[in-house]
Symmetry: C2
Subunit: 256 residues, 2 copies
């Protein structure tokens, strides 16, 4: 509990960071994600976390055209997005709750990378024109209540024409029977179907359990009500993920 | 406990079998092995479980020259060794505690594949000239006491000039700090350093915890005392595993 409230991961909890750091050092590391129903699988992570722009899937590359001005990269990991945007001339603040991910991001050349969980963000870190949540990091919103709370906070940390560019996973786009069972189980417990309680494991490191939120486009629209943001664009991928580009609801109202 | 005593895995427990069956059906499946200290990693398994003879590491190929007559293949998995030996004209009984591994072995053409845990073996299954434990399956002996008990039983199930050809992992051949800590922990608990309590996980299937035994060459020699077998040959690999060829201790005594 202590660790959960602090949110910054301890060394023993920083499974993700160790994985990322080891992979950076040349170790063929595999990230394992465990769900609270016992489902376990490799994430396929490290390769994508380090992919250079040319290796990104098309929908992620297309999403870059929506990015403007000063950028906040939330859940930056080893910094693939931050590095690309820096090179394109953006001022970027890259944050992650994983100390070793931040260490790796710095070693790879991210100028401003800080250990900071999403829940500790406030206007004190400055103002942004774009907030990026890539690699399914929309999931970091955890649940509807927290998503709305964080989005309202984001509204105060951003310029009037700001956008949030978030990669989202649609949980219903699956053939895996265990995933469908998990959705039903979640609903029976009054949770959103795609509210996955997971933890990351790597060797002998294990993160605390945390909720990672997967939503369909329809669920996303509902979730945005009262958040201060509206769904301006979606970019489809070849798989179950999509990019949501959010703009400020107020700006729309003013325009109409 | 029930399941442990029965030893044959239920559907929910047959993580290994599901993995093997899915891989056979074309799914890119990853086997995950969890140890009771929390260490977790992919086994790298399925590819090697299905490897054709030409893809085997050299020490495994060389070990085939020790195989004679009727063969018992223990922990056969999807049957790579059984299939090779069948083709070479051997009569092979292939056994595994995993129902889906046996199903897969049969689908792949293993003539005589049976669901049978190592502990249920007895002279009733017939007499053999060679017993094979490949892919680190020496580990199935679990601990010294069980190893000696099983080896004495093997002696009664085999011809006078029979051999046991077992692949063994030397636990001390590692640079991983967590493994060394685990060895110390085991010793402090009166267990052999390499007596690893593990379980196999695949998606939402999890085997019961079981002991899988790793021993150095020296420990192996000690373990064989009073087992009815002696270490006749070892074949080194490029890694931490080696092949132990055991022949009957009595035959040697008679010869000397």
């Amino acid at each position: 509990m202590m660790s959960k409230r602090r949110s910054v991961l301890t060394k023993k909890q920083d499974a993700y960071g160790r994985l990322v750091y080891d992979y950076f050092k040349g170790v063929r590391a595999t990230e394992i994600v465990e769900r609270d129903d016992g489902f376990i699988a490799p994430s396929g992570g490290p390769v994508t976390y380090f992919a250079s722009y040319r290796a990104w899937p098309a929908h992620q590359r297309r999403a870059m055209s929506f990015i403007r001005g000063r950028v906040l990269d939330i859940g930056c990991g080893p910094g693939r997005v931050a590095l690309y945007l820096q090179k394109r001339g953006h001022s970027v603040l890259a944050i992650d709750s994983s100390p070793l991910a931040i260490r790796t991001a710095r070693l790879r050349g991210v100028h401003d990378a800080r250990i900071l969980p999403i829940t500790k963000l406030s206007a004190r870190v400055g103002a942004f024109d774009t907030i990026v949540l890539f690699g399914n990091n929309f999931g970091l919103f955890a649940n509807v209540r927290r998503a709305r709370w964080l989005l309202r906070r984001f509204a105060k940390m951003t310029s009037p024409s700001a956008v949030v560019v978030a990669e989202v996973l649609d949980p219903y786009d699956t053939q895996v029977a265990a995933h469908r069972r998990y959705h039903r189980r979640n609903r029976a417990r009054g949770r959103m179907a795609g509210q996955s309680r997971i933890r990351v494991r790597y060797q002998d490191a294990t993160t605390p359990w945390f909720d990672y939120l997967f939503v369909s486009r329809l669920e996303l629209r509902r979730l945005l009500q009262g958040s201060g943001w509206r769904l301006a664009h979606t970019l489809d991928s070849n798989g179950p993920t999509y990019i949501a580009v959010l703009s400020k609801a107020r700006a729309v109202e003013a325009a109409s």
